[in-house]
Symmetry: C2
Subunit: 406 residues, 2 copies
């Protein structure tokens, strides 16, 4: 008998029929002798509807109120799932973030989970009740409702699994698992049966949308096995687990394509110590995530600084950058939204030489110009013109034989 946390995404609970499907699955898992805890997202479309309402009220709504508003989506789906389970004769009870006491910091809209109390959940499980937990939301020390950012329900699922020392956190979604690359771009894409936490984190941060990156960090920290799978079939999905000796270190596990970044260039920056900090501190204070940063060598005491930010944050970032640029007397600020970032990820990369050059060669063979490069121990990213993005992904998928598997 295992303790299984099942997290269902928005499309899996998109209407009452799908909620019934989820209830059947949870009930079946329980009938097989397991204890089950369910974590749910808002019904698909609901969070967007609430965000639109907030933006009608104010372009940049207060984030405390925003969180109180959008957290209602999960409250609705959790209650509906509990009602549906009960209608099948399965004891169930919904629990809100504040009711369980999923404590977070007070960074509204991007809060981080600090602690998950287990008292209420354990009591329910012991009484034979399936707890249905609202994903995405928590409560700060002041009793304010907080939310965890897009995809935050994944993190709730893993955090609840970690707190309960569950055997697995199953993440149900509308795809069969984690693929070597986006199957819509590359028909040869292959489902991975296993992937390490580190690789998954890179994949997630590089644009694979299947899991919120923070949930993988959490899973790694508390060693919670994640099973990513579809709520529409019974196929085995992808296991995200600790990298161990037995696991062959694949050179390259996957290719990602991120279309959501924009490039900012500050041209003619006086090349003095402390300039980078002056530029990036206000951006980081505004909670904007800067990804790649490149500084060109300078000859005349002036340098060009280029970096990428999420497209949604470009307007805000630009305002801050222009202010700094004036202060430090830089020449001009340029932006480019017509770019994409294509990346290869693999835990074995660090022990194989020639991966980078193989990547660059494959791209150059198609005359794809590389605009920016950044690397880590387990990934290499190249920014290219947007029109070449999908071609680049397909070329790299083929170059590293990802369709064949390890």
């Amino acid at each position: 008998m295992a303790l299984i946390v099942q997290k269902y995404g928005g499309t899996s609970v998109g209407d009452i029929d799908r909620i019934r499907n989820v209830a059947n699955r949870a009930a079946q898992t329980r009938r097989e002798g397991n204890d089950v805890v369910v974590v749910v997202s808002a019904m698909s479309g609901e969070t967007d509807r609430l965000i639109r309402l907030a933006q009608q009220a104010h372009e940049t709504p207060d984030l405390r109120e925003y969180d109180s508003l959008i957290s209602t989506g999960e409250q609705v789906s959790a209650a509906l799932l509990a009602i549906t389970l009960q209608s099948m004769g399965v004891p169930a009870r919904s629990f809100l973030g504040p009711q369980i006491r999923i404590f977070t910091d007070s960074a509204f809209s991007v809060a981080r989970i600090q602690n998950v109390e287990t008292k209420h959940l354990r009591r329910a499980i012991k009484a034979g009740i399936i707890p249905v937990v609202t994903g995405f939301q928590g409560v700060d020390k002041g009793g304010n409702i907080t939310t965890l950012g897009r995809g935050g329900s994944d993190t709730t699922g893993v955090a609840v699994a970690a707190a309960l020392k569950a055997d697995v956190c199953e993440i149900y979604t509308d795809v069969d698992g984690v693929y070597t690359t986006d199957p819509n771009i590359c028909p040869d894409a292959r489902k991975l049966s296993r992937i390490s936490y580190d690789e998954m984190m890179e994949m997630a941060s590089l644009g694979a949308k299947v899991l919120q990156i923070r949930s993988v960090e959490f899973a790694k920290k508390f060693n919670v096995p994640i099973h990513v799978r579809s709520s529409f079939n019974d196929k085995n999905g992808t296991w995200v687990v600790k990298e161990d000796e037995k696991m062959e270190k694949v050179m390259v596990s996957g290719v990602t394509l991120n279309k959501n970044e924009a490039r900012v260039t500050i041209a003619g920056v006086p090349d003095r110590p402390g300039i980078a900090s002056k530029i990036f501190s206000p951006i980081s204070d505004a909670h904007i995530v800067v990804d790649m940063i490149i500084q060109n060598s300078s000859a005349d005491g002036l340098t060009d600084l280029t970096f990428t930010v999420p497209k949604v944050d470009l307007k805000r970032a630009l305002k801050l950058v222009k202010k700094t640029a004036e202060e430090i007397k830089a020449k001009e600020v340029l932006t480019e939204e017509n770019i994409v970032k294509v990346s290869i990820v693999g835990a074995g990369m660090v022990s194989h030489s020639g991966v980078a050059s193989k990547m660059f060669t494959a791209l150059s063979r198609e005359n794809i110009n590389i605009l920016m490069i950044s690397t880590s121990e387990i990934k290499i990213s190249c920014v290219v013109e947007a029109k070449y993005g999908e071609l680049a992904a397909r070329v790299l998928h083929q170059a590293f034989n990802l369709e064949k598997g390890s």
Copy 2:
């Protein structure tokens, strides 16, 4: 400087433009030097949408989950109003029932307020912040969300006003105040400038939908003046206040028409002590409100028992009644939905003779047959065939000269 609690109903916060209108009014009241606390209902239509979802999941949803589900409507409107106030530069903050600690009993869907903590509200007011409180919802000792029944936001408004010892609780709605009868039925209907708590309670319990009856009970108990008025204009509405010496005791203040009751008759009931209790205990245990009860005199040891219940509860009541009828060997159970209850209400009735006979005469003059009668110190109700309902209301409105005022 006064402390004013303003409660806005669903139509007053039905969309963002109307929410803006509410924000303007609250801000204006504050600019005039008053402290303001706002209580809001769900956006009109939202509660019904949520109820439909619940019923799709299960015909008779578990009431704990039901309350958690439908309480989200107020959470949404409170956050939106707080955001809107802030967008106008007015400091505001939403408070949920559980955040303030509006404690109720655990009678889900019909919970009663037991205590309202004022700490958070007072702190906000002192800091110059307008608290925007979710109506309709509370929390029980176990931390479960509860709701107060249809119109429960009125009660929240009055309870918050009572707890804060506010000078007035303004109830904003889509009509100008309390009328002598429904203006849709009787074009002569006149807005009352004042009405006593007792009369208002009768009016509310008899079908005038302008205020939840429990809110008036609460207001009477804690002597909170209520001002019922429209959120769409600045006219003075109706004050619901303590009856005092100066207030002339009007013989009849209003006429109500209630179309929501159904009649149940148990025919051939053995006329023994304890039978009525056997019949009504299960109904009361099921939280079904029985209104008029009439027992015909019995000659052959058998009697007929007739009573009314809300139409929405008829199905449930019938199930219980049929079970009891079998047990006590009654002859049969009959129901009739095609009835209405027309009533006259007036605090002065008790000291004027002839009110009842005047009522019966007026009805008989139009050949309207009276099916049931019940009276209290300040009201007389007659059940008549549904098709005569509106005629009866008009006839009585005229017979007691209600269009003329006192």
